[in-house]
Symmetry: D2
Subunit: 363 residues, 4 copies
């Protein structure tokens, strides 16, 4: 393991330019947290503004998510005085409560295919194998907490994230009212019913399913996004791809746009109330990396959870052949709880883009 | 337009952490360029190492690309001494030669749907309308030049980018030898023939087509990529999405992975020569944001060129109704010349990831 | 104070490029902390490695420092597994215990001359007035904690910081053994005796004194420091000037060098064991922003504590005339406890410079 | 020299957060330049706004500076359209004209004491020895050019830099009108006369002198500077210390403040026209890292030019004993031309601080 002493192996855990956040913490450490820097002063902020978003992604609420029981109570340790942000760093902390490290004895020895186990060892020569350590989806709780603060920076924007596909079964209807009425953040009541069977089957057979999440932000004015390397779509792509299990990102028509002809893909404009009225939104609200005033539309592909009970061929830390079936508690479809995380990343990208553009809080 | 004086409207034109590059220049200004900072010292470098990549994306070579004639000769103005990099900033410059600004009289007044025209005005209250100014695909020449330097930082890696789909017509065969034998960077000789007809038809009818580019990097060792917000896949997603006309990015199986079951998506391992031998590469060579040693696979969706001769409904700068048909010289399928740009962004991301990980040049 | 809603007023609380740290927390909030990113993996680290440095700057130990009683017990919340750093973010937290916010009723209304009170209100339109909030010297405890980790990254370096002047009275002798034997971090036993009287007098008369701290780092190899805008001396200057009450920074001969002739200021070299043997060190171990292998020497000027019992003319938040005499508990000479803070900033700058240069941990 | 291939040896040539600039180029390369990113759009800008500042620092104008003849004509290559900034990167270029590389044959072999020669070799294993390459004071021309643009971002601020001391001889009078009437940027007519003799003597005897430059910025409103690690004074300290030959920086009373008592150092306030009227400015216009509305005062110490005709003991690249007397053309007192550079760095820091605070151009 001399390797571990040789390398530079820098890590980088901050995101954003003007509204920056950093996350810290391992799945089975004492706590996880987020540190926000660059938040404008004078915004009303308390734990109550953040908790509802954490509750959305909280595990253990239905049989379709991991059974790990985490209250995920957030505490604000700095940056707020008399109920308002002061413009100084906002420190958020969430205690880890329900760890079962013993579940991971096997993971300590062998690498779980599809997981970051092997890659982390290759990089750092050393890893906290308990629950995936830093590579655990548990880290996304820190993002959701930070996202709760970001939403206060963009009060003019409304963000909706919903699951549009699970295991290849696509939702067809879109009724926003449905999203909170089923365990799948699904806007299609009928699809939600089908997905219950689908996910149950996968869970019981020790398998897992992938999913696609769509996120729409309305109320974003024209002009947000900093060309050429802080383009709004580029930041969104990085933000979404940095979420565990994400393998694809689309803006607007995305890959489908590659199949359209120029005249069909053009979002024609005509004079509107204030600014142009667009006749279509193939672009997903972004042109040249800058928002156009239309809804910002992003779609994110989640692979099936890598932790499955089905035994898979692998190697152990000494490079010898092994077989592993992941015990411990896991989501049969990690994409489901991905929805609130995608919404949080959207909020974080928009807060940063707004401050880089307007330098204002919108009040 | 008092608006132009009020805003913060920051721009941000640098990319990378350890190996950083910045680009500058407008389509019809005197020149464009790239500034590279963080390049290791002692690397052999001359214009001849960069020019071949610029020649690949150079316009005006076939009837399938814009007829603008640009020699795109790169000059190294700093950072090299006695044929070797010194570790100081490398300044690259490319003169603009064949501008025809008069073509853009109309663009100055009305906004081209699908273009950044309206968004730039909304952001800056002011834009260089000649050929799209800073938002022009001409900027990608700077990226390709910087990419030529980046390749010297990762000599162990081989990067291949090819077009796998145009206007919805997918290539099926993969023969690397074919890529340079047709004007489409296509690895499928038969598809290349079909595409000639396809693109000709679009060009003649004043329309345009979209395309999908695939890029594969072999020889990337395990361990590159800095969790959690400089993940290799997140950086690649940002890099690709920042390219003009790109609307989607996939790593490995991408959106298809969302339709697989856990056991089908798992890249099982068995003991190999050095490190593990993987039985599949659904992950596209990246797990937990860190390279696994398998080939890194990215797919990028380009929308059809927004500049088309077909008249489209729009508004002018005063918000009045107008109609615009883009004259000037344009690519009927911007995705074709996107291939060398995608390859360059891959090289730039890998050079940065390598230095962040190894802090070494590989020599 | 509607102003508070209008501004961008970004804050920025991170320092360093490869070895980065951020601090958070207010003087009278629940806790303060530091977040370290980029620390190499595999380093042995526990609270015991950090606590001794915190104990050095801890208040309430002698009558020459503030009587606020803070145990300053540091907790490591993330980034360490089985006693070693993992390469992931290291989260450090210190609880605030002995707050007496009531002391600050007056400060809430009127601005203390020499303090950041007025400037913070002018910037943020809003401030946590309790003990100076974020602008309190209490924040330096976070730096000292982070510095404890930084020292592990540069084990080859030995750092000594000592007070060389208080209230204009200069120490003449230099006996390192003395530094820990008096309450002033003074290497001159006789000066320490004189300073007791000096500081006592100031304390009793409700006044305060300034001081000069010198910090020497030996064992720094040649080559650290990144030209041109991460020069080692420039980073040290920023680091030291960012400490509360600091008004001047010198490297090597500093201002005295401006009075020397070229031939007297030149550090001649002759062949040595390994590398050159220097005949002098006017440069303070840095040339062209890069370490030369000689001891790195920095001197830092601390102004007298601004909080004094002597009443001073000022204005209140409404702009009306007022007079203020700062009650609460304060250091009669803030420069004394500045010594461990200066040492910590030296360690933090060197750790960053080393990683930017060698990309290695020195093991 | 295998060393040159092994290292990470990152360089870092950018400065600023919201208003960022990067410089590039070597003393004897084809050109040098600056790239500015983050400049607000809509500002009137042409070469004529920049050239006067370059002319101030231009060499070869009097016998008191190097005889190298450089027209230092700046060209704007990007970021300006129809006479106004567009918000895109501003690329500035200055051709090198009067190189005499042959003068440096000796420097290629032996290290000049006090110069960066040895340090650069130790860092990069490789250096452009012609005129100091990247470490040459010639690089400061790029800073002055960038500073010319920065001044347009802070039109409300007036910046004056003048030399207050040469070779230990201090100026006593302050008559701004004098500054441009003598070759020393001296506000004291009598001192200027004395300095002629002083500098002539040093020049003729093949020696050199140090100097102290003072820079005052009036019109800076209260509130600029981003706590805690982008404090205005910390940024100024880094900016000034990054200038060639600088060894010390003071804000306000600087080191003298360490000798004052609290009541003497306090800048008392009383109600004024708008905001407070300060009764003194010991703080140099900055408290808690934030501007107070008073004049911002910085003093910078320049060591004597290291290039002297007097032979000095040194070693050559092979580590053997040698003696060197620097031929070539050099400033007998590099601090003199340091004044316009100090003023430029002040402008650059203030432009960045303003945008970070107001997110506005002030128009």
């Amino acid at each position: 393991m001399a390797r571990r002493f040789r390398g530079f192996r820098v890590s980088y855990n901050s995101f954003g330019h003007s509204f920056r956040f950093s996350t810290w913490g391992e799945s089975h450490g004492p706590a996880i947290g987020a540190l926000i820097d660059g938040c404008p002063p004078g915004l009303k902020l308390s734990e109550a503004d953040i908790q509802p978003f954490l509750d959305q992604r909280r595990p253990g609420q239905t049989r379709f998510t991991t059974q790990r029981q985490e209250p995920d109570q957030v505490r604000i340790l700095a940056g707020v005085f008399e109920g308002r942000t002061t413009g100084t760093p906002i420190s958020l902390m969430i205690d880890n409560v329900d760890q079962r490290s013993k579940d991971y004895a096997e993971v300590a020895k062998a690498y779980r295919p599809g997981h970051a186990d092997y890659a982390y060892d290759a990089k750092y020569g050393f890893r906290d194998y308990r629950g995936g350590g830093r590579s655990s989806a548990r880290e996304t709780a820190s993002r959701v907490a930070a996202g709760g603060v970001a939403r206060l920076v963009v009060p003019e924007v409304s963000i909706v994230a919903h699951v549009i596909e699970i295991g290849g079964d696509r939702a067809t209807a879109f009724d926003p009212a449905q999203i909170d009425r089923n365990p799948f953040f699904c806007a299609d009541a009928e699809a939600a019913v089908r997905w219950e069977t689908l996910v149950d089957e996968a869970r019981k057979s020790g398998s897992s399913l992938g999913a696609v999440v769509e996120c729409v932000a309305t109320g974003v004015p024209a002009g947000w996004g900093a060309p050429l390397y802080h383009k709004l779509d580029a930041q969104l792509a990085a933000a979404m791809m940095s979420i565990n299990a994400v393998k694809g990102v689309e803006i607007g028509d995305g890959f489908h746009a590659a199949r359209l002809r120029g005249e069909d893909n053009a979002d024609a404009m005509r004079p509107g109330e204030d600014g142009p009225e667009f006749l279509a939104n193939h672009a997903g609200g972004i042109a040249g990396g800058i928002s156009t005033g239309q809804p910002v539309v992003v779609r994110v592909a989640f692979k099936p959870t890598s932790s499955i009970l089905t035994p898979v061929e692998t190697i152990d830390r000494d490079g010898a052949a092994a077989e592993i079936a992941t015990k411990g508690r896991h989501d049969p479809c990690v994409g489901i709880r991905g929805a609130p995380v995608v919404a949080a990343m959207m909020a974080l990208c928009l807060a940063d883009a707004k401050l880089m553009h307007r330098g204002q809080t919108g009040r």
